[in-house]
């Protein structure tokens, strides 16, 4: 049973083009493990923390994609004043993802890795504590 599972894991991890080198497989496995741990941690994450990270990521992505707050608000059909409040993390003006979807591809190209990095940074210390690598305060 175990050997079948191992064979299945190896066969799915082996690419169709060229052969894996042990080092590349180790790196891939390590990355998959890190993302898996982050996903586990995220399942217990607080909404406020995620939305704070979202605000930061949106501001960063707007700057990098060369969009001004006014332009972005115009594309989304949202009041500039409300959008500014939402970016500051005002709970009365929630940053709606249904509106953010209307922003161009260049915005999302910067936003997704930025968001992934911010959330990972927020949670990496907790993961260390969970694994017993660092002590909690």
């Amino acid at each position: 049973m175990t050997s079948n599972l191992t064979l299945f894991a190896i066969s799915t991890a082996t690419p169709t083009l060229g052969a894996w080198r042990p080092a590349s497989l180790t790196v891939t496995q390590f990355l998959v493990m890190v993302v898996f741990l982050l996903a586990l941690r995220l399942s217990a994450a607080m909404t406020e923390d995620l939305e704070k990270a979202l605000c930061e990521a949106v501001i960063g992505a707007l700057v990098r994609s060369g969009l001004t707050v006014e332009q972005a608000a115009g594309i989304m059909g949202w009041n500039v004043h409300n959008f500014r409040h939402a970016l500051r993390g005002d709970p009365r003006h929630q940053l709606s993802l249904n509106k953010l979807v209307k922003l161009p591809f260049s915005f999302w190209m910067w936003m997704l890795p930025d968001l992934a990095f911010l959330v990972a940074r927020q949670n990496i210390r907790h993961i260390g504590e969970d694994l017993g690598l660092t002590r909690s305060a």
């Binding site: 690419p15 998959v32 996903a39 995220l42 890795p113 968001l115 959330v119």
Partner: protein, 35 residues
């Protein structure tokens, strides 16, 4: 030749996939709050 490319590609897929997962989680939470 393929190994660094595949590692790079895996990294990009993981980062963007993770970002998408976070966006999906926030969207789901916002929808739940609205309902």
């Amino acid at each position: 030749v393929w190994a660094p490319l595949l590692v790079g590609l895996t990294l990009v897929v993981l980062v963007y996939g993770f970002g998408l997962a976070v966006v999906g989680l926030v969207w789901w939470q916002q929808r739940k709050e609205r309902d």
